[in-house]
């Protein structure tokens, strides 16, 4: 079989003194779209951040495109959408300026060329934000913000897209737009690993779902069929009568 694009074997990681990943196995093949599901605090973000090298593994193995992560340098092949970070900072910046940062994976320390500027516009067209090119990111809504962060990852024309809750705060109509954008990426051969809480309009695109609970994989296979509150194993139960055995007590207010 071909080398997996992402291969995580027996991965363990801790944040502070707390073990957050407790032996996660995850393999993503070229061209696959894999959804990572699980309740708040189950370790989805940590797993994804470990894959992009932002959380050190305390054990296990991680390979990207067949290279051990430690020696992986080809970051232009990877596009990353972090969870709910804000694109706003202490100084105003336009949508174009923020998205152009995604292009640095290719230009590195070199100059920007015409192709780079065109890629930025194309990425914004894909997420339906091309008309806001010159607007300040401070003047965007939460969902628009999220779409700018997705465009930033797309600007580098990556082979592997890693997205942490890309649909958070995005309305259904725009989720459909993003699903279409993702479909185009997959059609040109991209591989996708994305953290989701609901499959929503992405459902038809998803080949496989991996469900985490308390830092362990509890399901790896077909995406859950019925899409609803209770469909996902280990899904967030926020209502008062939730089965207390299924989850440690969690109010859902702070996570």
């Amino acid at each position: 079989m071909e080398q997996p694009v992402i291969s995580l074997r027996g991965a363990t990681a801790s944040l502070g003194s707390r073990p957050v990943l407790r032996g996660v196995d995850l393999a993503v093949q070229r061209g696959e779209v894999v959804a990572l599901l699980g309740a708040n605090g189950s370790g989805k973000s940590t797993a994804v951040r470990a894959v992009v090298g932002q959380v050190p593994l305390t054990g296990g193995e991680l390979e990207l495109f067949g290279t051990p992560q430690r020696r992986f340098r080809d970051w232009a092949r990877v596009g990353y959408v972090p969870q709910r970070t804000t694109a706003a900072s202490g100084v105003p910046a336009t949508v174009r300026e923020v998205v152009a940062a995604g292009r640095l994976a290719r230009t590195k320390l070199g100059p920007t060329r015409k192709a780079d500027r065109e890629a930025v516009v194309r990425a914004l067209e894909l997420v339906g934000m091309a008309d806001r090119l010159k607007d300040s990111v401070n003047a965007l809504s939460g969902g628009q913000h999220q779409r700018v962060l997705i465009a930033r990852a797309l600007a580098g024309e990556p082979e592997l897209l890693i997205m942490d809750e890309p649909m958070a705060g995005v309305d259904l109509a725009n989720q459909a737009v993003l699903a279409e954008a993702l479909r185009t990426q997959v059609a040109r051969g991209a591989t996708v690993l994305l953290v989701l809480h609901e499959l929503g309009p992405l459902e038809p695109l998803i080949d496989r779902a991996v469900v985490l609970r308390d830092g362990c994989v509890v399901h790896d296979g077909a995406p859950p069929q019925a899409v609803g509150q209770h469909a996902l194993p280990g899904h967030d139960h926020v209502h008062p009568h939730a089965d207390p055995a299924a989850e440690p007590i969690r109010t859902g207010l702070l996570s």
């Binding site: 900072s89 100084v91 105003p92 923020v98 940062a101 995604g102 640095l104 930033r152």
Partner: protein, 290 residues
């Protein structure tokens, strides 16, 4: 203009001009990263360098540069490995630097409290030929870094984690920002003084933010404001005989207030124009999607 015929004023104006460019140019990245007071910290540490320079009887500019760079690198390491007590460590560094400077200065035979004041609050008209050479070289480094690497520095200050995933040498660039800030402090110390250096890194940026919408415009306007206030402050201090550093900083605050006053009606006019362009219309036949 007679003022331009005086060699010491020529040097003063050149130094002021260079400070006007460099301080906001590096300051914008510090503000972007919400580290606006870093310049202040380096300024405190620089005093130890100045004291050391006096004690060793060498040019305070170069010794201060070396000490500042060292201090800034330590600050950056504390920030990036940021553990819970990082703020305490920084406080030690700041006040240790200040106290060390005062101590070294009093130990040296040439240093006096008058000299100390010169470095704390700036004394632009005493900039020597030697100083100006150092200032030019250091300013060139700052300008090349802040403009040449603007896209990369923007990215690391905007979203450091994302920048790391693009494969940029983020740790190196962070150190470069720290070193550049340190160098800027020594460029500016003769003009505005160590205690007011940070003001010139922050206020022009804050002022131009009031009306700019993009990073590029903010950058350009901040540098323009910087040059405007340093040059006019220097000229004013020559004619009125007031300290240059304080004049420059007060002028910068004046520009900030003026731009803030302009910004509010400007934003309202922009909003009005858009509102007129697209009034809400109730269209019952429209496809309502949620």
């Amino acid at each position: 203009m007679e003022i331009l015929d005086l060699p010491f004023m020529q040097r003063a104006l050149l130094a002021a001009f260079l400070v006007g460019i460099t301080a906001p140019a590096i300051g914008i990245y510090l503000v972007q990263r919400r580290q606006a007071l870093m310049g202040d910290g380096i300024g405190h540490v620089a005093l130890t360098g100045v004291g050391l320079g006096f004690l060793l009887n060498t040019s305070p500019v170069w010794v201060a540069t070396a000490v500042c760079v060292l201090g800034a690198v330590v600050m950056e390491l504390i920030r990036s490995y940021g553990k819970a007590r990082g703020d305490i460590a920084l406080a030690m560094l700041f006040y240790g630097g200040m106290a060390g400077g005062v101590m070294l200065m009093s130990l040296s035979s040439t240093g006096s409290s008058a000299n100390l004041t010169t470095y704390l609050f700036g004394s632009i008209t005493t900039v020597s030929q030697q100083d100006i050479v150092a200032i030019c070289i250091l300013a060139a480094f700052v300008v090349l870094t802040t403009i040449g690497l603007r896209r990369q520095l923007f990215a690391i200050c905007q979203d450091e984690e994302f920048a790391r995933v693009t494969g940029l040498p983020v740790r190196l660039l962070n150190l470069l920002v720290a070193v550049t800030a340190a160098v800027t402090v020594t460029v500016a110390m003769r003009v505005v003084g160590l205690l007011l250096v940070s003001a010139l890194m922050v206020i022009p940026v804050a002022a131009s933010q009031q009306i700019a919408r993009s990073f590029a415009t903010t950058f350009a306007m901040a540098v323009a404001v910087g040059v405007l206030v340093t040059l006019s402050g220097t000229v004013t201090s020559y004619y009125v005989d007031v300290p240059s550093g304080a004049t420059i900083v007060l002028m910068a605050i004046g520009v900030f207030i003026a731009l803030t006053a302009v910004a509010t009606p400007l934003a309202r006019r922009r909003a009005d124009r858009t509102a007129e362009a697209e009034r809400c219309t109730l269209r019952p036949e429209a496809d309502v999607q949620v």
